[in-house]
Amino acid sequence: MEFVIEHLQKSFEKKEVLKDINFTFQEGKIYGLLGRNGAGKTTLFNCLNRDIRTDGGTFYFSVSEGHRQTSPDDIGYVLSTPTVPEFLTGEEFLKFFLEINETTISSPKTPEEYFRMVNIEPEDQRKLMKDYSHGMKNKMQMLINIIAEPPLLLLDEPLTSLDVVVAEEMKGLLRQLKKERIILFSTHIMELALDLCDEIVILNQGRLEEVEKENLDSSEFKDKIIEMLKEESHG
């Protein structure tokens, strides 16, 4: 399976944020999406999640049977600021999600098993989510987005404000999850991208470019990424 974006465009007023996005993402990989502030990473994600209308272009899954348009079930979108329904307990939210998606979740586990995946303790499962910490809300959001096993997972700086322990847990979880799906991980932190991601993609002047690793060692690779990011500001 591949996820293909062709000639995607999006402008705000006269500012062309996404000029001509063309890229093919491969199954089983985590892609680190790097770009400077205001480069349009969140706009790209919002377009792919159909939260905002694109001005042009298309995106689809390329599978052995041909092309397939994306549907809401295909995409999991984890925002940098976790949003969860705060009037529910973690347990109630998970139960609700499992009940309404029982026909689409292929191999459902028990709620306890799911909570174990993200290390949420039993006493926290029964707390209202309005009393959850930022990290716990983030875990819940991630959990809901991965249970249905969407083929495309969009992660918008999900680890930036987590403490080191939770961030390591989440990294481990993402590495387990990448099989049979495409993960697009946007971040400002280059070390995090290099540590976690299989490929690095730069959003540069409204276009996506892959950074070829070639035979570079990690320091040279970093320099190359920074050079490419700098080009944007001079462009």
């Binding site: 006269k14 939260d51 809401p72 969860v84 009037f87 609700f96 309404i100």
Partner: protein
């Protein structure tokens, strides 16, 4: 000190000019035509600077005129003729000035320009505060002077007191500032004008009541007493000047007053934060709230049960009030013949008036607002929640809930009207009874459908929980306006009731069809 004032004035002016340009860009249609480069346009900045300067002068006078005219002069005209106008005028002014001295201090108002100047740009806090304070006090005194002379003369106040009044205002403010500074020296606690404590609120309401209430009872401070207070306060003001000038801890005090600004000076963000906290308070912490339902039914039932305080309690209160009014009317018509006749006549011709009553009783606005803030704001970020079948399923459940929620007052009002009609002698057309009950119930259903449909089709909020749809605002104000106009309409109950029922049924059918067709596309977070 002059230099500090000049820098702070230009800083404040730049801030104000940029705020004006920002406001222009927020206007619907006009804002979209204005480019982002506007902030860098020197020509425009000069023009807005000019406007800002003129406004600085106009506001110094206009505000004082409006204050004296609306708060003092107009109420003065309503008091009984036997009250001495000069006494009442000064009585109100004196008490209002005390309120103003406590609630409008300038010095303890944590504004962004103070934060920028003293904290971010590290200006000398004492010089900044004193130079700006002198400017503000001068503005007060000069702004008040012409209108004090004018209104004072019209009220028959002696000229010396009219001249003394602006100094009295300034001195009263300085005395309150002095008290607060002394408190800071003693306790280390600074005063924040925007967070008046319960004592200050109580004092304000008491003074307000005394200012307007006592003259209504024919009691007002004699002119001589007011004059003596004016003089005493003005003289005490001179002492305050000395303390204000020598106070050494402005920087430390402002560090405390402006502490919250460290987390952002964006007013909108602060309002959002307050709204968020307010909405979170509506969520019940009771641990025994559970549901035996599943899926969306469980989801919604938990929502309603955990928001009982904001959803159910006000309805119970409204129903109780309606029932009490009904009981009162029942007693009145039973014991008083003219009331009985009038009530009968009104019930048979004033049904349009009840459109406004039903509009006011409906909880649709609050219901949709809480739905968004505490539920859809987060849920709409999940792809699964936006599946068309799920959106429609939840719409059905929510509509049923909203109709049921609004039902108790509708039953009391509809049933009550029919009962009152019977008690007051009945009607020639027996059909008036069912028409009364059904039309009131239909109005309940109509407003419920209307609010929820607008919410689903126009979903007015964005991810920051700001209301971002002018169409939605237009529709809600239009609804209010139509209902308000209907209050004055008089029409035969049978005719209006039948029309209302037909309209409500047709509207509900059309609205539901539109939701079924369009909600999957429209029900998402606005950009």
């Amino acid at each position: 000190m002059v230099k500090a004032f000049r820098i702070s004035y230009f800083l404040r002016n730049t801030y104000r000019v940029n705020s004006i340009i920002y406001s222009l860009k927020q206007l619907p249609l006009v804002g979209q035509l204005l480019p982002q480069a506007l902030y860098a346009s020197h020509g425009l900045k000069r023009a807005v600077n000019g406007v800002s300067f003129v406004w600085e002068i106009v506001s110094a006078f206009l505000g004082k005129f409006l204050y004296l005219f609306l708060m003092v002069w107009l109420p003065l005209q309503m008091y009984p003729k036997q009250a001495e106008p000069a006494d009442v005028y000064l009585h109100i002014l004196l008490l209002f000035t005390v309120i103003g001295a406590m609630m409008n201090t300038w010095i303890f108002n944590p504004t962004n320009d103070k934060y920028y100047a003293m904290i971010l740009m590290r200006m000398d806090a004492r010089k900044y505060t004193l130079s700006n304070y002198i400017y503000q006090m001068l503005k007060f005194a000069v702004g008040f002077l012409p209108f004090s002379l004018w209104f004072g003369h019209k009220a028959g106040v002696p000229l010396p007191l009219c001249l003394l009044f602006p100094l009295f205002v300034v001195s009263a403010k300085m005395i309150f500032a002095l008290i607060c500074l002394k408190r800071y020296l003693r306790t280390g606690i600074s005063t924040n004008e925007n967070l008046p404590g319960k004592y200050l609120w109580t004092a304000t309401f008491l003074l307000l009541g005394m200012a307007y209430g006592l003259p209504a009872l024919g009691v007002a401070l004699p002119l001589e007493v007011s004059g003596a207070v004016f003089l005493l306060v003005t003289l005490s003001g001179i002492y305050s000047v000395r303390v204000l000038r020598s106070f050494p801890y402005y920087r430390e005090m402002y560090q405390q007053i402006l502490a919250e600004k460290r987390y952002g000076t964006d007013f909108k963000a602060q309002v959002r934060q307050v709204n968020k906290q307010q909405n979170e308070k509506y969520i019940s912490q009771e641990l025994d709230i559970r549901t035996d339902k599943t899926g969306f039914e469980a989801f919604h039932q938990l929502f309603v049960r955990r928001h009982k305080k904001i959803l159910r309690k006000p309805v119970q209160r409204t129903t109780g009030i309606c029932a009490c009014v009904l009981l009162g009317l029942v007693i009145a018509v039973l014991i008083n013949e003219p009331v009985r006749t009038t009530t009968n006549r009104l019930i048979l011709s004033m049904l349009p008036f009840f459109t406004f009553i039903m509009y006011s009783c409906n909880r649709g606005t609050i219901y949709t607002q809480v739905l968004f803030m505490n539920c859809d704001h987060s849920m709409l970020t999940y792809s699964f929640y936006k599946k068309p079948s799920f959106i429609l399923k939840l719409f059905q459940i929510r509509l049923r809930e909203l109709i049921l929620l609004n039902l108790p007052p509708a039953i009391v009002i509809g049933g009550g009207l029919a009962f009152l009609l019977y008690l007051t002698g009945g009607t020639e057309h027996v059909m008036n009874y069912p028409v009364l009950v059904i039309s009131i119930l239909a109005m309940n259903v109509f407003f419920s459908v209307h609010y929820l449909t607008c919410y689903y089709l126009l979903q007015p909020y964005n991810a920051y929980t700001d209301m971002a749809s002018s169409t939605y605002r237009l529709v809600t104000s239009g609804t209010y306006f139509v209902c308000f106009l209907l209050m004055r309409a008089k029409m035969d109950t049978m005719v209006f009731g039948t029309l209302a029922i037909v309209f409500c049924v047709a509207y509900c059918v059309i609205a539901c069809v539109l939701v079924y067709r369009l909600a999957a596309k429209t029900f998402r977070l606005r950009n």
